[in-house]
Amino acid sequence: MSRRRNRRGKQAAWNALGLAVFVVMVFPVFWMISTAFKSDAQIVSITPTWFPLHPTLAHFSAAIHKPFFWQDVENSLIIVSVTVAISIVLAFLAAVALARYRFSGRTLFVVLVIGIQMLPQAGLIIPLYVVLARYHQTNVLSGVVITYMTFVLPFCVWTLRGFLLGIPKELEEAAMVDGSTRLGVFIKILLPLMGPGLVATSVFAFITSWNEYIFARVLLNDQSKQTITVWLSYFLGTSRHTDWGALMAASTLTAIPVVIFFLLVQRRIAFGLTAGAVRG
């Protein structure tokens, strides 16, 4: 009896600890959303209000009516969509090569794809900036697309390769025996099966590009051409009295599409970077 109670007590203690970790980890997110809905009086008060019982949408409306908010959201959307669209098509071809063929130079290509993803972005800003300036690609969205492809492209190759490996080769071989051409196999078998993988990879590429900051910060000068992350980063420091409510509302709005997308694909994609290692 006492032993069982002891075990139950232990379990309760572990659960309590788990809940404490949950509270600490999630608190910043909660605080962002909670602040976004509070009145200004509640926000500046020394004693914080934990739950806004009379939520206001004033900060959201203030945030979206700030200059260039929609313009910069649009810029982000354009940059990200173009980057992902081009990358996913090119990367898919290369992923097929990696997952389905053995060829000399394959190892070198794998090194390239993995190595590039490890380059710190800060280390690339000077050469990218100077070269893009040379071809008048600074302060235009296309220049940013080019820089985003430096990390999105290898990421897509590597992730799609993982998805392709999950599709049994036998399906394609059987179709070949039945007289399909390689192209036919590609279109009729591989592409439909790769649907979920293509979507998940695109979504994840979308998220990483949407979140990117440093390249956009360096390349885009006009406020009307910036991305939403750069817009958000300039929110502070424009005046002495920060409008915390509006800042948190804008932060919430910036995070929402990312959070939704991320929740959809996290399970499928999360292990790309450590794949293999997890499996041993």
């Binding site: 910043p28 000077i126 290898p154 958000l232």
Partner: protein
């Protein structure tokens, strides 16, 4: 008659060669398919990354400022940029600071990540589901958004952190300025980075822990092995490969981190006294428009990271080549 047979023979060889040729063609096509498939990616990477990297090397040996940027041409000055950087006290101090900073970040990320992952194996299912969902939510936060939230929470006037610490009687933090000293500034950055990195580390490690055979752990516990010994002798050897990969990834990421320190400490408070490597590079190269010298710093930094990445890249390449 013989002529007839010879024509047949000739026709035969002709047919044979054409078939052979066709076979040769198809095998050639087969062999070239993978190359045709990777050519677009290789070409694009060559243009958008390879070409700039060649430029980087060239730039690092040139006097290249705003004037040269407009002229598209800079005079060569040999290794003067490198000499200038390597004789710069700030460079060495920054390097040392970045190494210590990286070590602290990686240490906290991995140790806390391991502890939380182990905790996940102990809690009831509903707590586990709740905690994992919370972690995924944190994981999905864009970095710039997280920085703004941190700015707000640690704000000296009415930040919630000061209030909570004071209420918990951990000292008087009324209007405490967390960005007053370098150590405090960088600690805040570390807090932010570890918070942001934990979800990935915990969830990956937890997936690894699932592979630890249950009966083995139970047998050891029945034999009276202390929890620490069970961890060291059973759990650790199994998850070591994952731990190794996570550690090297964290080292690479934390060494090159830019957005969090740059935005949390703020451009206005950036001084040579609190530079991290990527910020030193940004301020010296981009902000001061001294692209030649910035290129030299970039190259040194990329080389350092390349050395740091060797373990990770080798491991991943082995996996990638095997499959």
């Amino acid at each position: 008659m013989p002529s007839d047979s010879s024509t047949t023979a000739a026709a035969g060889t002709l047919l044979g060669t054409s078939r052979r040729r066709r076979r040769l063609w198809s095998s050639l096509a087969r062999a070239s398919t993978p190359y045709a498939l990777i050519v677009p990616v290789v070409a694009v990477i060559g243009v958008i990354l390879g070409y700039p990297l060649v430029w980087l090397v060239k730039l690092s040996t040139e006097q290249y400022g705003l004037f040269e940027l407009i002229k598209h041409h800079g005079p060569s000055i040999g290794l003067a940029n490198y000499r200038s950087v390597l004789h710069d006290q700030i460079f060495w101090h920054t390097l040392l600071r970045t190494v210590v900073f990286t070590a602290a970040n990686v240490f906290f990320t991995i140790v806390l990540g391991m502890l939380i992952a182990l905790l996940l194996t102990r809690v009831s299912t509903w707590v586990r589901v709740l905690l994992t969902s919370g972690l995924v939510l944190v994981w999905s936060m864009p970095v710039v958004v997280a920085v703004e939230v941190w700015n707000w929470m640690t704000n000296y006037q009415n930040g919630v952190l000061n209030y909570v610490l004071t209420e918990l009687h951990l000292g008087n933090y009324f209007q405490h300025d967390w960005y007053g000293s370098t150590t405090s500034q960088l600690s805040m950055v570390t807090l932010l980075i570890v918070w942001g990195a934990l979800p990935f580390v915990v969830i990956t490690l937890y997936a690894g822990l699932a592979q630890v055979p249950h009966d083995l752990v139970e047998a050891a516990e029945v034999d009276g092995a202390a929890p620490w010994r069970v961890f060291r002798d059973i759990t650790l050897p199994i998850i070591r490969p994952i731990l190794l990969i996570l550690t090297s990834l964290s080292i690479i990421w934390d060494f090159g981190v830019f957005t969090q320190p740059y935005l949390l400490i703020g451009q206005a408070k950036m001084t040579p006294g609190n530079f991290l490597m990527s910020i030193y590079l940004f301020e010296e190269g981009y902000f001061k428009s001294d692209y030649g010298r910035g290129a030299a710093i970039s190259l040194l930094m990329l080389l350092l990271v390349a050395v740091l990445s060797v373990i990770y890249v080798r491991k991943m390449v082995r996996i990638g080549v095997a499959e």
